[in-house]
Amino acid sequence: MNNLVKAALMAAGLALLGGCNPSMKPLGYHAQKPYVPMSLLVLPDGYTRFDVQERDELTSAVRSSGAFSFVDHGLPRKGYALVISQPPGEGAGFLVALNALTLLTFPVPYSYVHNLTGKVYKDGELLRTFSYKREGMSVGAWYVPPPITENQRQMLTELMRDLEASALIPHVDDAGQVGLVDQR
């Protein structure tokens, strides 16, 4: 194998590894006025590296909507809290795993169910639960991006819209809360 082919293979490999990672696009929601300082908890809080990565991605997606003036993490005894979790649904199963034999090239169809739940707490008591669900078909192959990222983005967008519409969490007052928002 000459050097040119090697270099081309290397470049293609790097492009596949680096360029095909589907990261979440910004939410289709932008807040007009931020909420009062509150807590945000995205579950699972992270047992594995992938959990932590997903938690960080969802957290930053929600935060980038500009809906929060100040975010603490955890579930507090006092004040407002939003807990986002993803109840187990269905995903690619055994057949798609077997597809590894074809190096994930053969498009094996599978059906999926993705769930997302947002719970609003005040002083440790549950105020309301928002549930979202996406069902559909996809194929497991290396050239088809997994639908979970886009589904998460849509469900988070809906969650933030519904949260705004529900008016459960008060917004930052123009008077008293300015010191919190802008520190310097």
Binding site: R55, H73, Q183
Partner: protein, 174 residues
Amino acid sequence: MKKILFLSASLLLAGCAGTQTLPDPRIEAGQDYLPPIAVMVDSLEHGTELRNYLRESGVFSKVENGVAGEGQTQVMVKLDAQRKVAPAPLLFLSAATLFLLPLQSDLDTKADFTVMRDGKVLKRYHYENYMAKYAWLLDLGIPEREENIRRVARAFARDMQAANQASKPLEAQR
């Protein structure tokens, strides 16, 4: 051979010690506990850690998370802790030596503490702590990173204690 081993061992032991720019704050023992505080930290990674170090400092009678009740002291913390790691080529080089080659693994922490009561700002504190560290396989520098946050928390606890001792309870600024 022995000399080389000895030299490299002492270099690793001595050269890889982490340094912190913020000296370890001295907190006076035997003082009364300060009233409970509610602490909100704007950091996904270090929020819980910071609260635990505040509890550990032994200055406050109670450290809660979330929003303070009426008349209670609220502390809002903007914590910005940036990891500074070696550039990728060096990282690969170190990996090629099974991480025997020490790498830069610093932590640059800037923290703004805002002390409030009933929605009014009483006082603001700012702390910076830069931890410089060369990490390798058997010394990843995790205790130094924890120490970095711990010192920031203790510095705040010390200053709150000092402010209380000066026997002028924090007054509203406006």
